[in-house]
């Protein structure tokens, strides 16, 4: 079933596009940012199409219902990641929050870590199908990314609410909303990864 690999490539690609888009937004490169938003829409659409085919094959050929539900949950989780990444970039392109200079570095690092997290997750998902014993190690990397993002999120919030007195509350809330949206992507990766670890342990038995 080659389409699973294609779907996982979409996840990795989604993470990459997210990282690049945020970078372009941060450096105010509007043209490239708009192009990236278009790209993520395409990737998301492509992922949906592949997922439809994979799910059809899954129900047609995968015979163990328990395993089928594990694979189904994994693919849905990964699809949620791509959807959420697209949603974040679309909102970013519409609402265009004003990011203070003090928060830019953290936003950049968070987006890089999110990209890394999605890449590790895609690798873990790939390993699940042929090398289940490697899943735990890869998911642990996802968890490490999420922890670091959590720390950066707290730090950014502290900067926003205590470090920049000139920022008004509406602006702080607006930025916080995007920060939450960005950080929720790694939370999603962690949750999918945890489920994947259980599925891999079941496969190992």
């Amino acid at each position: 079933m080659a389409s699973i690999s294609e779907f996982l490539a979409c996840v990795t690609s989604g993470g990459e596009i997210l990282k690049n888009s945020i970078e372009e937004y941060l450096v105010s490169n509007d043209e490239l940012f708009s192009l990236s938003v278009k790209k993520i829409r395409t990737v998301e659409h492509e992922a949906d199409e592949i997922l439809k085919k994979v799910k059809h094959d899954l129900y047609a050929y995968l015979l163990i219902p328990d395993t089928r539900s594990d694979v189904d949950r994994l693919l849905n989780g990964l699809d949620d990641f791509i959807d959420a990444a697209k949603q974040l970039l679309v909102l970013l392109s519409i609402e265009r929050p004003l990011l203070p200079e003090a928060a830019v570095t953290n936003f950049r690092t968070i987006s890089e870590l999110t990209c890394l997290s999605s890449s590790h997750l895609a690798q873990a998902a790939d390993a699940y199908f042929s090398y289940p014993q490697e899943v735990i190690q890869k998911v642990q990397q996802v968890i490490v990314c999420e922890k670091n993002i959590d720390m950066l999120q707290e730090e950014t919030l502290d900067v926003l609410f205590n470090g920049i007195p000139s920022l008004d509350l509406a602006q702080k809330t607006h930025i916080t909303r995007f920060l939450d949206l960005l950080c929720s992507l790694s939370d999603l990766c962690k949750e999918v990864g945890k489920d994947l670890m259980i599925s891999a342990l079941k496969r190992g038995s």
């Binding site: 079933m1 050929y61 995968l62 015979l63 163990i64 219902p65 328990d66 395993t67 694979v71 699940y128 199908f129 042929s130 090398y131 014993q133 079941k202 496969r203 038995s205």
Partner: protein
């Protein structure tokens, strides 16, 4: 129809049907319970293989059973078999693990005591020994097979979906082998006791079949097939969804190990081969498929070093069943023989 012949048919139908309904579940339970194999496929494969196993390789275990006693009256054979059947029902009623093979040995012993016939202690001792080493052998076989398959899977990195396809084929193949072994070994429980009485009284149900034993094996295996087709689905669904929480690969190994052990206790050719080479040859007698399956499951738990998952209570119950089943059957058979 002749009353003894009617009694024979009722007995064979009862024993065969219950064997088919319950023991086929051990063979195809996981595959059907997890919906990897459709019940129709499982029932068809199982029924055909049981009949082939019984007709082509049923003689070994049946002759082993005959070494205990030779019964010339159909009524006596029927009463012994019915005593065993009653014991199985009674033990099942009290939710105790029970083996038809053990019940039958107990019933024969009860019959012999009631008729003041000498007990063949040496034959009985070798049969008792198989009750212990049958499951142990299944356990060792499954542990070894598990380690081999685990190593292969670890090295080959087979894709989940490919593995799934292999699993399905392997489960059907193991189910066919298990059904064949079940027919070859456990047919003795259904019709083994009637061979001497049918031969002595020169009775034939299908005149086209010259050999009495083959004729009886065919009738008995058809009764088993009837049990598989009419009632085993319910038991299979219960086995697959509630009790047998094993991965498909482990389930395949359990079925294969059980089939190998049953085959070892049934195959005349294998027995001769081992004897000719001065290798230890197990006696040809009917053994409990359920207990061999339990042994195989424990073997996998040991191979996985999952000691805590071994159900000690079930082990104690099985050990108690080794004593309680033959004793109860002997008592029931003794009472039947004295009353009737």
């Amino acid at each position: 129809m002749d009353p003894p012949l009617l009694l024979f048919f009722l007995t064979v139908l009862f024993m065969g049907w219950s064997l088919g309904a319950n023991d086929a579940a051990n063979v195809f339970g996981t595959a059907v319970g997890t919906r990897m194999v459709r019940f129709c496929t499982a029932a068809l494969v199982s029924s055909v293989c049981v009949v082939i196993g019984a007709v082509t390789a049923g003689k070994g275990a049946s002759e082993g059973l005959s070494s205990l006693v030779t019964i010339d009256r159909i009524q006596d054979s029927s009463l012994i078999a019915l005593s065993a059947g009653a014991t199985v029902l009674l033990m099942t009623r009290f939710a105790l693990p029970v083996s038809t093979s053990q019940a039958l040995i107990g019933s024969i012993s009860g019959f012999m005591i009631a008729r003041d016939l000498p007990l063949h202690i040496s034959s009985l001792t070798s049969i008792w020994a198989t009750w212990v080493y049958g499951p142990v052998l299944a356990g060792i076989t499954s542990a070894l097979l598990y380690l081999i398959f685990h190593r292969i899977l670890m090295r080959r990195h087979i894709h989940l979906l490919t593995l799934d396809r292999y699993n399905r084929i392997l489960l059907i193949a193991a189910g066919a082998a298990g059904s064949y072994a079940l027919g070859a070994n456990n047919i003795a429980n259904v019709t083994g006791l009637f061979i001497s009485s049918f031969t002595a009284q020169k009775i034939s149900v299908f005149p086209a079949i010259q050999d009495t034993a083959t004729e009886l094996f065919l009738i008995g295996s058809l009764a088993i097939a009837l049990g598989i087709i009419t009632y085993s689905k319910r038991v299979m669904m219960s086995v697959g969804s509630n009790l047998f929480e094993l991965s498909p690969v482990a389930a395949f190994i359990v079925v294969l190990s059980t089939a190998l052990v049953l085959f070892l206790f049934s195959s005349v050719s294998l027995h001769i081969y081992l004897v000719e080479r001065n290798l230890p040859a197990p006696p040809l007698i009917p053994v409990s498929q359920s207990q061999a399956s339990v042994g195989a499951v424990i073997g996998i738990a040991v191979a996985k070093r999952a000691w805590s998952s071994i159900n000690v209570t079930l082990l104690v119950k099985i050990a108690a069943g080794w004593v309680a089943t033959p004793l109860s059957a002997a008592l029931i058979s003794f009472i039947f023989m004295k009353i009737i």
